[in-house]
Amino acid sequence: MGFLDRLDKGLDPVGPDIMLGTVEDLLNWGRSKSDWYMHFGIACCAIEFMAVNAAHFDLMRFGAIPRASPRQADFIIISGTVTLKMAERIKRLYEQMAEPKYVFSMGSCANSGGPYWEHGYHVLKGVDRIIPVDVYVPGCPPRPEAFLEGMVQLQKKIRHQEIFRKREKMSPEDLKAIEDRKIEMEKQYQDYLADQKLKNQEIG
């Protein structure tokens, strides 16, 4: 249960100016009210997203601040058609984000391919085929109200999340998958270094 949900339920604080709770709840409360996002506008949903950001709907009152770098972002908003060419870039950006990270899939195209469902030779049928999505916002494009509802859902999700001793509760398969991915990424990095060295030698 989240920190603020206790107040909503009408539980009395212990005494004047004192409220008891777990550190996890407190941290989650802070995290959910300060989500920095990386905006990844790739089609007309990004136009609707401008309205979400502008004064009338004002996304910033949720504590969401736009960042231009994946390194500083808590979640990424995929707003638009994900082509196969762009999908690889999205995956790379997602991997560059620091944990904990979330994905916001905005509109029919990012959810499922949208109008390109049947004949789009170039469109990925849903961004969840390459990265795990936390919130799907339906619509073509979604109304700003729908986006704000998604934002509320994301905050709810963060508020109820476990952040301590997560690994202890993981299944052995998941842990193994994480270790395998680590080894694979280390290998990719070594390959990259070797490649760079080779290139530098060529340049001389």
Partner: protein, 158 residues
């Protein structure tokens, strides 16, 4: 200048290469030409004082099952008249001379027609894909194109 006047001017200059004029009140009229001398025809259209087609609005490729067609939409900014030129090329050897020396804007249009339809523009200085990834296989807007099952490990069809 009306389209039939443009057609008369062309057929007087290139009697063997101009095939037909198609006049349609509801759409733009177009002239079929032989792809053999396309650059000379285009230079003539651009440089004559009464034609003066100084602007290539669009260059597209079309797959009409039997053969491929290159469509040139020309417009004269100064004289405010327009014409569409079409050239049919065989599917077995889909190649035509580039017009990028005539209008620079043809550069990217021709790359697009190569990328999506597979028309080879002979003499183009940089005929590489423009929309699809460089390692894409096939030309997707051809009628007999088959969507690949996978691209870089991502499943493409539903």
């Amino acid at each position: 200048m009306k389209s039939n006047e443009i057609f008369e001017r062309l057929i007087a200059e290139f009697p063997e290469d101009i095939i037909s004029l198609n006049e349609d009140e509801n759409s733009e009229s177009f002239i079929y030409v032989n792809p053999r001398n396309i650059v000379e025809i285009m230079l003539f259209l651009r440089d004559e004082n009464d034609l003066f087609f100084d602007y290539l609005s669009c260059l597209s490729g079309v797959d009409s099952k039997e053969n491929l067609t290159v469509v040139y939409n020309l417009y004269s900014i100064q004289l405010k008249h327009r014409i569409t030129i079409k050239a049919d090329i065989p599917k077995e050897n889909p190649s035509i001379a580039t017009v990028e020396k005539v209008w620079l804007t043809a550069d990217w249009h021709e790359r697009e027609a190569w990328d999506l339809i597979g028309i080879k523009f002979e003499g183009h200085h940089n005929l590489i894909r423009i929309l699809n990834p460089y390692d894409w296989e096939g030309h997707p807007l051809q009628k007999d194109y088959k969507t690949p099952e996978y691209y870089h490990g991502m499943r493409v069809p539903v």
